[in-house]
Amino acid sequence: METKNATMVTIVAERLLRDRLVEKIRALGAKGFTLTEVQGEGSRGWQAHEFEGPSVKIETLVRAEVAEKIVEAVAKYFEHHAVIVYLTDAKVVRVRKF
């Protein structure tokens, strides 16, 4: 089966940002996403999940342009919130779906 390239954007964020990030990526053109409850540790010395509930990992397969926009949107939260974002290359079969 022929595969095409797509970009997987992964965001790991404190739960508080869940709904805001989901709305954002929808608005920026992602056609779907997958959400996982996770725990994590990063540069912030406190674990948000203690009172907010578990953190979330949001994965969305998109075209490169959309990926770029999502990264920029997430970057706005870097200063005050526990959140990271990274990109990986993926191959998909139904390219129009993403």
Binding site: K24, E50, F51, G53, H81
Partner: protein
Amino acid sequence: MSPAEILATNLLSPVVLAFGLGVAATLVRSDLEFPEPLYQSLSIYLLLAIGLKGGAALSVTPLTVFVGPAAVTVLLGLVTPLTAFAVLRAALRMDRINAGALAAHYGSVSAVTFLAAVSFGEATGVPIEGFMPALVALLEVPAIVVGLLLARGAHARPGEGEGSGSWAHALHEVITGKSILLLVGGVAMGWIAGKERMTPVEPFFVAGFQGALTLFLLEMGLVAARRLRDLKEAGLLLVAFGTLVPVVHGVLGVWAGTVAGLSEGGAAVLGTLVASASYIAAPAAVRIALPEAKPSLYLTASLGITFPFNLVLGIPVYFALASIFGG
């Protein structure tokens, strides 16, 4: 009862012992963990249960009896964030943002501390007004609003952009947040249904309550003890703040409750409420509206210092005070 006996009654109660067991488990590095959904389920159960009980009691309380304590409670919710803020700014020289964040917590209320106080009243045979849960709901919100206003000061920017906190969002969060929703919803349900229609659900919501609370406090012990690590960092001043301000608020609450016509037990519980610091509704709202405030500060203070302090020492003290004021 002598002061020593009162203290012993509290320390030997299942609720406080369970908390102690949780702390001990963390200290010996046990692998005991509460699954997250159990914690959430117990929260939902406890909040709904106290709402239902309070609402059912309210349905048989004449308005005239309720209105005084209610007014006093709202007043206390507006005043106590101010005292907390003043102390933090003057004595701890804390910046405005973090002081406002803490003020929101100390003006608001901890439902579990409330429950521990009610348990204590039952164990010592001091009767308590049944409508007290309605006061919890009244005390929870105003202080948070005041605290946020204090933090933002003249710089309040309503509806700010992304990546930063929005006022409207935070307010919505407090008012529709699950703790208020379950508490107020429970009160409404209990009040509408009335005492008699609640009978079939009593074995679940009333008889099982004390045990579920005990289990919950085991988890609270686990959680609070994890905060103890942060105490060193927090410093002595924060410890002093987290124990002295609650006592001041507690005295205020007991006195105001007595004046407003609450019974001895009711005044003691109101004192406890006022003395307690929120660690659910307030952190959620503060995190939204004041993302630049340090969670390590307000969580350590409310959950790591004030919660155990009230549970172990505060509650018996407020009951002792109420018996003096009321006598």
